[in-house]
Amino acid sequence: MKNNYDILVIGGGPAGALAAKTAAEAGNSVCIIEKRSAIGTPVRCAEGIGKELLKEFVKPDPRWISADIERARLIAPNGTTISLEQDKAGNEVGYVLDRKVFDRELVWQAAEAGADVIVKTRATEPIMENGAVRGAKVLSAGTPADIRAEVVIAADGTEAQFARRAGLDTVVPLREMMSCAQYLMTDIDIDAGSTDFYLGNDIAPEGYLWVFPKGDRTANVGIGISGRKSRDGSRAKDYLDRFVAKNFPEGKTIEAIAGGVPVCRPLACTVADGLMVAGDAARVVDPITGGGIGNAMYTGRLAAQVASRCIEAGNCSKEALMPYDAEWRASKMGAGIERNYKVKEYFVTLDDAKLNTLAESIANISLKEFSVRALIMELITRNPKLLLELKALKDALS
């Protein structure tokens, strides 16, 4: 194992892979360390991503696309269904990925660009010198080692322990941690072209339940509920089991996974001396959809671009790395997260009656654009009486 790199990337998910690929292409020596013994498994993801977002980072490949999605349906507590059709909207919907293959493809691309990849290697703590991160102390299959680097990019996902041990506050408040469980189910009756989102406080309190197709008669059936609603007898798994017993009693579960999705605001600052934080570790998850793959790839790539410039200039201080933080916050992604955070904070206050009323008001719409923003604008247009409550939303959207 080499002990010195320009850039050390902690975590081999989409953020880490894009960071490593970008950094290697810019001529840096790079290493990705992954604590798991395999890239891509176990999956902790519902695997949905917008097509346009995905294409910004990688050419779609049928080897890791499980399903091509044409519509999304939102199902209110009383069954009212809002169907958003791709052919009525001006933009494309999305894909459901096969993350096991997708993540490996991304890491393979990083490796092909020249990055080293080491699995079963866990960063236990940052190497700190004069308050700056200078690499990581690692355990590689049980053997301790030091890996030094000019810049460490922490892309260690939900756990986000590396940045935390370097002094950043990455703890997710209980109410803003979505507690999630998912079954990959087969032999079930589903619409293979539709991602379905079930809403309601009896279905998924402060969250939603999803059915994302993975092909004919196969889907990711999963749920996220707020951590504050989670307790014995009413955990994510309990809600999921109830839904499955009712809707897919004959289905077969071929994989059962769990996970936590942070829907808090992003970290107050995503850089420190010698350190950058990207992806779920930076808490750059869409607070409404819980989607994080695209944002992870975006922040991973951007972090590596800024790091490359700083390494070339010989200054990797917090101040020098700060353009990364400023740029993603000012980006479409950053603005979208801030907006959707406010939208989420409003929606978690709604009871089922209000969810039904809102759903009924837009049950027959055809949106010109396929986005959370377009949906909210339509809600406001159709619910003038709710304008007072929705004012906060409208402000968030303006």
């Binding site: 079963k120 941690m177 999630c180 996970g259």
Partner: protein, 107 residues
């Protein structure tokens, strides 16, 4: 019992005014669960608490790691480990999607 990780309650930090923090307050100082849980906790400062990890239920997803205010939990590949001092606040047990964690109070 042996397969469960067990940790004694940590000493924790004192109050801002320097007075020693009561055990039950310390347990919930990071979340807003104190009001909800104070009956359940009892008032005995000498009560011993520990975190049990049920490995048959654990999905090694790391949700607990991200909400732990003490950075006490560590997900090592497919093994959840209590690596540092646990204050038995119970936040991880609440967040767990599978119900694999339990704070146990014993006299």
């Amino acid at each position: 019992m042996e397969q469960w990780a067990v940790a004694p309650p940590g000493p924790g930090a004192g109050r801002d005014d320097g007075a020693p923090i009561r055990h039950q307050e310390q347990r919930f100082r990071y979340c807003n669960l104190y009001e909800e849980h104070k009956g359940f906790c009892g008032t005995d400062d000498n009560m011993s608490t520990m975190l049990r990890i049920n490995r048959d239920k654990c999905g090694y997803c790391g949700t607990c790691v991200a909400v732990c205010p003490e950075d006490a939990l560590e997900l090592i590949d497919a093994y959840l480990s209590l690596e540092r001092e646990c204050i038995a606040c119970g936040i991880c047990a609440r967040a767990c999607p599978l119900g694999a964690l339990e704070v146990v109070h014993e006299e």
